[in-house]
Amino acid sequence: MITIAWKELRSFLNSPIAYIFLIAFTGWLSGSYFVWGKVGQGLTFFSVGNTSLDVYFSLVPQAFVLLVPALAMRLWPDELKSGTVELLMTYPLRTWEVVCGKFLAGLALIALGLVFTLPVPWTVAIYGDLDWGPVWGAYIASLMLGGAFLSIGLFMGALCSEQVTAFIVTAAICLLFVLMGDTLINLFIPRGLHELSNALSFSARFNYLGRGVVDVADAFYFSSVTGVFLLLNCTVIESRKGV
């Protein structure tokens, strides 16, 4: 599993996608926060006027909706197209080891992206009185959200075996999960479904976690979504063997 993760990480670093991801992610967050303001709200570090980083971390889901699917989209389709999947699946590896290895490689890159954002809370901490509790909470929440998106993207790649299709479908699903539970969105769906929509929403849980309220239920929800999609991924790969 670790060898698979290394192999994937290596091939990430050999391709531009890893660097695009890292630069776009940090650029998006810092650019929005300090320069042009959060999409739809125009809030920046300067207009918020306090040392809470709520607004900064609230940028993470929108950045992930676009960037994590881009990261995930090549993990399976590359192997399926070039036929190397035949090598991989005829090596003495279990399907879950391969799936988890690929997942870990993506997660490592997401974690690296988050590490690159650390200078922002540091800077804030220098100039003001920063409460680190919610900051760490937000990092954990970000990693879990990234993991959930990644597992969806990984699954879609295995299912569609086509990078562009996998990217679009994944981004759409991730966007849906983020928008669900939003007051504005709830206007467009039947009242009876509001409860469901709120329950499934990624954003609400992300915000709770991000405030430093580490609720077991929220953490469990993200892990379950991740787990379910990794499991589905194994099933899809297994089903390719046919019976």
Binding site: W6, R10, E86, L87, M89, T90, P92, V243
Partner: protein, 317 residues
């Protein structure tokens, strides 16, 4: 215990039956040529043996392990070069072999030693640091081969290992196959007959998902060739020669194989293979006053057998 045991294997792709009851066993140390036209089911059989596909029905075991129930144990024992030689193009040869070894659970000095050994065997030394995407087809094939031999597998399965290689490279690859085949079980899938004749002691011919011949390479040609064929070359009249040969008991319709001036070459087979067939032909030629230039028995080749057994049948057309 046979190394590979395949019993009544069937594989359907949707409504298409790719394998229709394939059975064979293979002992340790055998080099098997798995022959068949394109689409006959060679690759499907190999994919089932390597655990890449599951059979629709039937059973296959490798070293006593079932390919479905104990897939990982099976895959541990096999070195496989898939058709078209897929490789991780962004790695160098050395990195690639290292990764392959790690994925097989090899490490440390054993991995380093084996890597050196297969690089030496496949003469990849000069390219060890080259990225795989810069390699020519011949070198790619060698990398695939090196990968299949890395962990000293008991069984080596090579699917069309010499397709697209130039004649020199083909000779190199065959030499490697013979070298490793001395103490290992090897399955060589191919539709290149001369290759199988050169390397394999045993041949299985598959057509439309069924095995149509299985035996020692040398015997197979004899068994399936039918009546022995003679090439008769004479100086004189074609009509007279044809008439004379047709007089012989059990003679087939003579076929003109070559003609140059008054020099004719005719192929004829004598049913029942009498020991004195050659003498009878000679006598027949002499009796009509033709000058016999050459008379030679034409031994059936694997190619004859292959063509006879795999000609498209009604339902396939």
């Amino acid at each position: 215990m046979p190394m590979i045991e395949v019993a009544d294997l069937r594989k359907d792709y949707g409504s298409f039956r790719a394998l229709d009851g394939v059975s064979f066993t293979l002992d340790r140390g055998e080099i098997l040529g798995f022959l068949g036209p394109n689409g006959a089911g060679k690759t499907t059989t190999m994919k089932i043996l390597t655990g890449f596909l599951y059979p629709t029905s039937g059973r296959a075991t490798v070293a006593g392990h079932d390919v479905m129930e104990n897939s990982v144990e099976v895959r541990r024992r096999i070195g496989y070069l898939p058709e078209h030689t897929p490789l991780y193009d962004d790695m160098t040869v050395s990195e690639y072999l290292h990764t392959c070894g790690r994925l097989r659970g090899m490490a440390g000095s054993r991995l380093a030693e084996r890597k050196q050994a297969v690089i030496g065997l496949t003469a990849l030394g000069a390219k060890a640091r080259a990225p795989i995407h810069t390699l020519s087809k011949g070198y790619r094939q060698r990398v695939g081969l090196a990968q299949a031999l890395l962990h000293e597998p008991e069984i080596i399965i090579l699917d069309e290992p010499t397709v697209g290689l130039d004649p020199n490279q083909v000779v190199d690859v065959r030499a490697i196959m013979r070298e490793v085949g001395r103490d290992r079980t090897v399955i060589l899938c191919s539709h290149i007959l001369s290759e199988v004749e050169a390397v394999c002691a045993r041949v299985i011919i598959i057509n439309d998902g069924r095995i149509v011949a299985d035996g020692a390479t040398a015997d197979l040609a004899r068994q399936h060739a039918g009546a022995p064929l003679y090439r008769v070359q004479v100086e004189g009249s074609l009509a007279a020669l044809t008439a004379a040969l047709q007089q012989l008991p059990g003679a087939s319709q003579p076929v003109l194989a070559q003609a140059g001036g008054s020099n004719y070459c005719i192929e004829v087979s004598i049913a029942g293979a009498p020991v004195d067939a050659a003498a009878a032909i000679m006598a027949a030629v002499n009796s009509v006053g033709l000058r016999l230039v050459a008379l030679e028995p034409r031994h059936a080749t694997l190619e004859d057998v292959f063509r006879k057994l795999t000609r498209p049948t009604e339902h396939a057309a």
